[in-house]
């Protein structure tokens, strides 16, 4: 079992009423509501929390990025990854991930990731994402070519990491007349690639066909099982037996000294879900051409208020009941995680532990309790259930290296 720590790095220190009055805080909520002094404090607190998570025994720190929104302060995940590469010694630095379509030059991204891998002495896990709709609009990137750009940028990065330069790349969306970066990853053939996602069938199938573990982002139990079914079927077609080492799950889990405090802080997860401020208009989060064509009609209905959001989440009480959010004392949380692991069987579990206005002190307490009580218990449960991570199972980094890994294992 690979255990990770995650926070969205919220910029919670803004006038919540202004957000409510505006109605949506992702993309267009004026950045005059951002306070750089508070931003400085929060960035440093988050860094302290990550380092503490390593001290108490976490295996990996999961990073992501968003733009133009208070729910996530990371505008470039590689920045924190670079800081952590130098400030930590043991944890995997797990990017989930870099939004490939936003990059105009994927070769430069391959260089940045290679530098992070070398400084961290081979601790990078390089996840890739398509990026949310708002991210395309915030960066002026055409949402209609999102998936094509994702695919092509991925192919270019893999070639850059695995084939000697100089070479030339004449693609549909990227043209690089000289590809010959001197910064290449320390890990061979290349860093592991994990693919996170929520809802897109195409991405699940694509990850499986490449042999990349799929990290389900905070999905309900039933949906998670559907994702694994879909993944394992597609993986089997390329000769990969799916299972826990290819299945990751991010889950909102908060632990505190008392149940009362844990539940109070768990309500802050709703902050991310927009209960307090609202997030984005549907046409911002799913611009035309960004979503699956098969969902076009349903989206047109939903986006004009004629049907319910496919991402609708019930009240916090129901979410706690359905294991969508887990909160309590260490003992309570361990019992619920056991249920969750039995139901979903992931080999990678990411703790989305602190969000919204949870104080630095409470965040540190949460991390301490996770390290002292929860992680050891979860590792034991995982052993009992046979839930191995990709590292423990020594899976190939991708389908392209499947045979090579088998040969190495045989030798």
């Amino acid at each position: 079992m690979h255990l990770m720590y995650f926070t969205e790095q919220p910029m919670s220190a803004y006038d919540a009423k202004a957000g409510l009055d505006y109605g949506a805080t992702a993309l267009m909520f004026p950045n005059s509501n951002f306070n750089s002094n508070e931003g400085s404090r929060l960035y440093n607190e988050y860094l302290e929390q990550y380092i503490y998570a390593e001290e108490v025994g976490i295996d990996g720190i999961m990073l992501n990025e968003h733009h133009n929104a208070p729910f996530c302060m990371q505008a470039r995940a590689n920045m924190f990854a670079a800081m952590l590469a130098a400030a930590t010694k043991r944890v995997k630095i797990v990017m989930l991930g870099n939004p490939l379509p936003l990059w105009e030059n994927p070769v430069q991204l391959s260089e940045e990731l290679a530098m992070i891998d070398m400084v961290s002495k081979g601790r990078l896990v390089s996840g890739f994402v398509r990026g949310g709709g708002q991210e395309q609009l915030a960066n002026g990137v055409n949402p209609a070519f999102n998936r094509e750009r994702f695919q092509e940028a991925h192919d270019l990065i893999i070639k850059t990491w695995t084939q000697p330069g100089p070479f030339r790349w004449e693609g549909t969306h990227y043209q690089q007349r000289v590809v010959n970066p001197w910064a290449v990853p320390m890990q061979k053939p290349h860093p592991r690639i994990w693919i996170p996602g929520v809802i897109s069938k195409e991405t699940i199938v694509w990850a499986a066909q490449n042999g990349y573990p799929y990290i389900a982002l905070n999905t309900p139990v039933e949906r998670t099982r559907q994702i694994w079914d879909m993944y394992d079927k597609a993986a089997a077609e390329v000769g990969i037996k799916g299972g826990p080492e290819y299945h990751g799950l991010l889950k909102q889990i908060h632990v505190a000294e008392t149940e009362e405090k844990a539940l109070e802080n768990a309500r802050q997860f709703m902050w991310m879900q927009g209960e307090f401020t609202g997030l984005a208009h549907p046409v911002w989060s799913t611009p035309a051409g960004y979503g699956s064509p098969e969902n076009r009609r349903a989206f047109a209905e939903f986006s004009t208020g004629r049907s319910t959001s496919p991402r609708y989440r019930p009240a916090i009480e129901q979410q706690l009941k359905d294991l969508m959010v887990i909160a309590g004392t260490p003992k309570q949380v361990i019992a619920k995680i056991k249920l969750l692991l039995e139901e979903t069987r992931p080999g990678i579990l990411s703790f989305w532990a602190n969000d919204g206005n949870v104080t630095h002190q409470d965040s540190m307490t949460c991390i301490r309790l996770l390290g002292q009580e929860v992680f050891p218990a979860v590792r034991e449960i995982a052993k009992e259930l046979g839930l191995q991570s990709p590292f423990e199972a020594n899976t190939p980094v991708s389908v392209r290296y499947m045979n090579k890994n088998q040969q190495l294992a045989a030798e």
Binding site: P143, A144, H281, V283, P287, A288, R296, F299, A300, R306
Partner: protein, 258 residues
Amino acid sequence: MTVAWTEATKDIAGTKMFFKRAGSGPTVLVLHRDIGTPDSLAFYDALAEKFDVIVSHHPGWGKSERAEWMRHPRDIAAMNAWLLTGLGVSDASLVGLGFGGWIAAEMASLAPTQYRRLVLVGSMGINPPDGYITDQALLSYLDYPRMGFHNEAAFTAIYGDVSIDQLEAWDLCREMSFRTAWKPYMYSQTLPHLLGGVQSPALIIHGDDDRIVPISASHVYAKALRNATMTVVAECGHCAEMDQPAAVAKLITQFVAS
């Protein structure tokens, strides 16, 4: 009077391009908006009383197949020019509506003597010196088309309560707009330099309440085209041919017939 429209497709650049046709007389090619076009319009019927009217669907919009490779309105311009050639029409007049105006202007700039008359209605394609072209990416599928009308009743008369089919069609239209005109959004940086060569007499029409394209864009067209006149239509939004169909049809009929 009932106008009899025929429907057909033509293979253009590997794509089946759909068009409707009615009337007789000098040919007028109508180039539709970024939000596509309804199947029928009083405006089209009015033009068909005097002219041989062709209403094409841009590739990827309406009933025309998508051309996956298409990246710019200039590509759509070339395909519409190919359509006219394929139909044996050599002296058409062009009526471009909004986004279609940009396409018409591209066609004219590439063939300066080819077209009898050029009519641009609230045309995109130029970066307005004053104001910005409204970014549909930030607006809902309902709000953006509605913003194109001064008269709410005119919108309702055409689109009614707006069906799910229509919403889905607008999503497709929007995707095609993004595929062809994402950046710079809805204008060309080179077109203004190329308009001076156009020989065709041009009529520039702009609604006085156009909330999609600032009128300053039409002023640039009127100045850059060597033989242009400009008319502002009162109580009229961006979708002038649907908002004030009789007035706009009359202006165009007089101009094209002259």
